[in-house]
Symmetry: C2
Subunit: 219 residues, 2 copies
């Protein structure tokens, strides 16, 4: 039979996974709203953020309680501190989903710009990174976590490509300026999601191996 402490740790793990699933879904829906020009869906993403914020508070409360009452050691301690960090990153990724949904609402009301393959690839990369990072947390899989760190360079490159293309548009045709600026902001949001996902992956490596690879993700 599991001890009370291990039941509580398991409960913490479940809340973190729930927050991760909701954040993943918020990102997916924000990108769908952007692609399909769906203003109603965009608004749903914005309204749903409150629920994700509440899960962050719940993770904080439970983590602190476990740290105070149970005097955890080694991997249990790293898991609890890692859960606090993970909730910070998930909350910020969910904020980026809200930000993208706000841009989607603006862009819905204007004629579409040309499709942008670099933006699509950036969105795909950011979502892949997020899914793999969450899976690596779920399975304690350090190799998956290391894969996430490798993918971040591609996200940076795609973000620069979107920026260059949008600058060309704006120079050629001043009517595109407002839409191009909103698109640049979407790309930067996605690039930030990629960065925050890299933090999650580093955090998984910290929990599992007790090694801090922050700022040395390549090692």
């Amino acid at each position: 039979m599991k001890s009370h402490f291990h039941q509580q740790l398991e409960a913490l793990r479940m809340i973190v996974l729930q927050m991760a699933a909701k954040t993943e879904r918020a990102m997916e829906r924000a990108l769908k709203a952007l692609n399909e020009r769906d203003e109603v869906l965009a608004q749903e993403v914005i309204d749903g953020d409150q629920e994700i914020n509440e899960l962050e508070l719940e993770i904080d409360r439970l983590s602190l309680k476990l740290l105070a009452l149970e005097q955890p050691m080694a991997r249990d301690l790293r898991f609890i501190v890692g859960s606090i960090r993970m909730s910070i990153d998930l909350e910020r990724i969910a904020d980026q989903a809200v930000n993208i949904a706000q841009r989607a609402k603006f862009l819905c009301q204007r004629p579409p710009l040309e499709p942008l393959p670099a933006l699509q690839r950036l969105a795909d990369t950011a979502m892949d990174m997020l899914r793999v990072a969450v899976a690596s947390f779920m399975n304690g899989n350090v190799n998956q976590a290391r894969d996430v760190c490798q993918m971040d360079d591609d996200a940076d490159e795609m973000n620069s490509r979107v920026l260059r293309t949008m600058i060309e548009y704006m120079i050629e045709e001043s009517r595109t300026v407002e839409r191009a600026v909103q698109t640049i902001i979407v790309a930067r949001c996605l690039e930030r999601v990629a960065d925050q996902t890299t933090n999650i992956a580093e955090n998984v490596i910290f929990i599992v191996d007790g090694v801090n690879i922050k700022h040395h993700c390549e090692t």
Copy 2:
């Protein structure tokens, strides 16, 4: 005589304050490089980021050690967890300083745009928030921390104002597009600094009063 544990807590506090001072200085220098078109200074900010990253790792190590060996309770526990959170925010503010320094390097090499009062006010607000937030941590002053949360609305408003002005520039005169886009990015970096500073202030309230006001900063 202070116990060994309290000496270690004091050492943690000193490293956090050192990291805060270096981050404040990086932001000040990045903004100076931008205003005075000083490419050498911008490069110094970029090169100096490594030192701030190392302080984050040191805070992580010491906090974990204290959590594992000393079984802290109540305010001491909140202080240690709060220090981990604070180092995350400071590191991200320092990253924004690097980002601003990169834009400054780009903008130095082009003719200056008209002075932008909204950008200057945004920079002043973000720096005020950062200074007050760090002071509130240093003195455990909850009232100062609450002041910081109030200032964030002004930062959001100034960021929107810069965005609108830059869009007008680009529509009127396509030669300004590249510089205007870089300026929009600077304003967004500053707005993020304001957000991350608000996180620091919320964290101070959590450490001192044990109350979590995340997502309810106005209360």
